[in-house]
């Protein structure tokens, strides 16, 4: 591939931008509210596509929820009130960041617990390896032999 065609290729790649599910008629006039709406939409799970947030989903229900989120914001809800509104209807399930409560303790703690167990295991192995290896430096006998050799060398010179 010549340098030029490579450059052209890269240029075409740059032209591609991510497609947005948010349609123009949904967007609010107030940029601050719209930014909050986008932010909230990214925290809410689309209930039909499940691994997608409603901000990037083209599903009908996701669109309805996006419009709902914007309506709530326009009517003066705080971010928290909007999320609570949706959670009241769809449950904690719609939140990408699950809340900290008894049913989710395992979910939140497990990764750190596994990390701690791994850390302790690695530490134990390292400690044992260190205690087994002989200390650095020479023993008294080696020291004496070395001094002896050195003296011999010096005499021969």
């Amino acid at each position: 591939m010549t340098m030029r065609s490579l450059a052209a290729y890269l240029f075409v790649l740059l032209l591609a931008f991510p497609a947005h599910a948010v349609e123009p008629d949904e967007i609010l006039d107030d940029p601050v509210l719209e930014a909050r709406a986008r932010d909230l939409s990214k925290q809410l799970r689309c209930v039909v596509c499940q691994n997608q947030d409603i901000d990037s989903s083209n599903a009908g229900v996701a669109r309805d929820l996006r419009i709902l989120v914007r309506e709530r914001l326009v009517s003066g809800d705080t971010d928290e009130q909007v999320l609570d509104f949706v959670v009241a209807r769809y449950g904690d399930y719609v939140l990408f960041r699950p809340p900290w409560k008894p049913t989710t303790y395992a979910l939140w703690i497990a990764p750190f617990l596994v990390l701690a167990i791994g850390g302790v295991a690695v530490g134990a192995v390292l400690m044992r390896a260190r205690s087994r290896s002989t200390p650095l430096g020479l023993s008294a006998q080696e020291e004496a032999e070395f001094a002896d050799l050195k003296r011999h060398l010096e005499q021969e010179r």
């Binding site: 039909v48 229900v61 309805d64 709902l68 209807r89 449950g91 399930y93 167990i117």
Partner: protein, 187 residues
């Protein structure tokens, strides 16, 4: 202490293996979203009737004092499984004396009317939910969905997807029979 440490890897494998085994269970549906409505009063909604059909619309207040379990079915003419489910619902109304209420979800009234005229109308009430807002109040993720609501407006059961086929019908009928038994014991 040392013995315990030796057993630790085995323990970890067992725990992780247990989780994987649980994940393989064919009965478990990872797509299932638990409904928050169960054991809660029916959500707030008020839907106008479908023009051209001789049954009234549907609102929350219609569910509060029915005195017996009723079935709420969310349907649409554009929903293909709904067509199959329609036959089953009609049978339940005719043979089991089920009281059936419909929420016509995001449908064109003209299409819904034609659909019900063609297939017959098993619904005692039909509310038209043009913008899908009542659907959100009910926490639905698609159509069809079917709820059982007791005589005083408390949601008892939710079935996601069409009540079609032996398994689905058995599950739904069991839930309905239970609701009726409880209503009988309560009154």
């Amino acid at each position: 202490m040392k013995r315990l440490l030796v057993a630790l890897p085995l323990l970890i494998v067992l725990v992780i293996g247990g989780f994987l085994l649980w994940g393989l269970n064919p009965e478990r549906d990872p797509n299932e979203i638990p409904s928050v409505l169960i054991s809660q009063p029916a959500p707030e909604f008020d839907l106008p009737p479908l023009e051209g059909i001789d049954v009234p619309g549907l609102a929350r207040s219609d569910l509060m004092e029915t005195g017996e379990p009723v079935v709420i079915n969310v349907f649409a003419s554009w929903c293909v499984p709904c067509r199959a489910e329609h036959a089953e619902l009609t049978r339940m109304v005719r043979e089991d004396g089920v009281r059936l209420m419909g929420i016509n979800y995001k449908d064109k009234p003209k299409d819904a009317l034609r659909w019900l005229n063609n297939l017959g109308n098993p619904y005692e009430r039909v509310g038209t939910d043009l913008d899908g807002r009542a659907g959100i109040e009910w926490g639905i993720s698609g159509v069809p969905e079917t709820f059982i609501v007791d005589g005083s407006g408390t949601v008892l059961y939710r079935y996601v997807g069409p009540v079609v086929g032996d398994d689905a019908v058995r599950q739904f009928s069991t839930a309905l029979a239970q609701a009726r038994a409880n209503a009988g014991a309560g009154s």
